[in-house]
Amino acid sequence: MIEGIMANILWLVFITLGGALISWGVHFIPVGGAPAAMAQATGVGTGTVQLAAGAGLTGLVSAGFMMNVTENLPLILASGAVGAMIMISVTMIVATWVYVYGVGCVPSSAKVKTDPITKYRQDIYVSQGTEGHGIPTVSFVSGVIGAALGGIGGGLVYYSLIEVGMSIGLTAGVTPDVVGNSLVGVAAMFAIGIFMVNAVIPSYNIGGTIEGFHDPKWKKWPKAVISSLIASLLCAIVAVIAILQLGGI
């Protein structure tokens, strides 16, 4: 068991880093929660975990898809990042349509006076009694950055777990059999478990809502990243041992 961990120390480090990247990425995603669902806060109207998991798991799938055709790590991570970015962009643009054409409010941030990217005035468009509404440009850009980090993190975790399995002679190829592939199943499930843990820890750190990297709460990210590093390391050790045991069955 100890030799197994020592032999896979590089992959352990990668899994831990992947977890920390996911945790950092969540801080960029404009999460509005229930207030945003009523157009009373900036961001998409659902919780951190749902948004981060939606984007991150799409990244995981697209990273896994790329692993069918190449072993090249940068390409796999790029595929994961792009998959997650597309997912979050689609979510945010459709939410913006709903806010603008359905609810009838102007995308605006209550946390800054002018949008740091477009330099447009924000405060005069914020409805009274609300914390902003819709998804202004800076939050959109921030969300795309966050999804990229989450996708890279998720891809890194999944790739490392698959490599641990490959190192003991398991295959991750496509099988024509309906029952699927044990290594892919176990690695994907561990990646999802690690992803969920690292999506919830930062959501407790930001306490429900965040607008993006211009939000004052964003500066709290080191706390969540340190927590995620420790939690991911623990999960990574457990995951690597479980995958090494797959060789014996």
């Binding site: 975990v49 892919v184 499930m189 478990g193 407790y204 306490g207 999960c235 457990v238 479980a242 797959l246």
Partner: protein, 267 residues
Amino acid sequence: MSVGGSGGGAKGGYPPQTIIALGIIGGLAGIYLGHFMPAAYSFFGGIGAICATVWGADAVRRVASYGLGTGVPSIGMLALGMGTVAALFGLSVGSFAGPIVAFIVAVIIGIVIGALSNRVIGMGIPIMEQAMAEIAGAGTLVILGLSVVIAGSFDYSTVVHNVVATGYIALIFIIGGMGILHPFNASLGPDEHQDRTLVLAVEKGAIALIIVGFVSSLNEGLMAAGVNILIGIIIWYVAFMKHYALIKRDAYQVVGTGLLPSAEELQ
């Protein structure tokens, strides 16, 4: 998304120790009975999962009453995230002691994440460490219990081939998480009562047993699957009627609104 309770501890009802004992003993007993008895008795795993779901829902109720700052669903997802990691690890190294090893590992991961949330992130919830350990343990037992229903055993290779590689673990992940997070999320508020929340957890656990009962026909044959589904439906019906009775007890008044008026009546 709701932010949870009012900022104080949960009150009333059965003490936490009773529910913890029910969850651990009931959960582990169900998992072991489901494993050692013939395939037709794999529903014991589901009953174990229901006990663990009730325990998890009670732990969520106690910790989320302090107000998590974010939605109650997050803690259910965290429970099943920790649970999956611990369950697969426990089965891989533990052989016959697998569920117990998984449970202990889950409690350790839970305590670490609870301590990180309180000390590093600074959530300031006094029972965070204990509650996280409980939620992780309950999540693990739910996953193991439902896996035993599908595979008929908790042997690592059987579970990997019949539950994980086929992808049914994702189904377990969501329906198990739903059973833990939904009862308090649906019942929270000033009129929340423990018995109503926990009966809802039983009902959610029974739905999970019905769904995995369908899946179990792949590995255990139609007879065993039929027994699983039938037991699930019976438990669901009893729990649903009990929940409805408790809703009527707690509601100020229950009135019938009748059918929607037709177009002629509106004119």
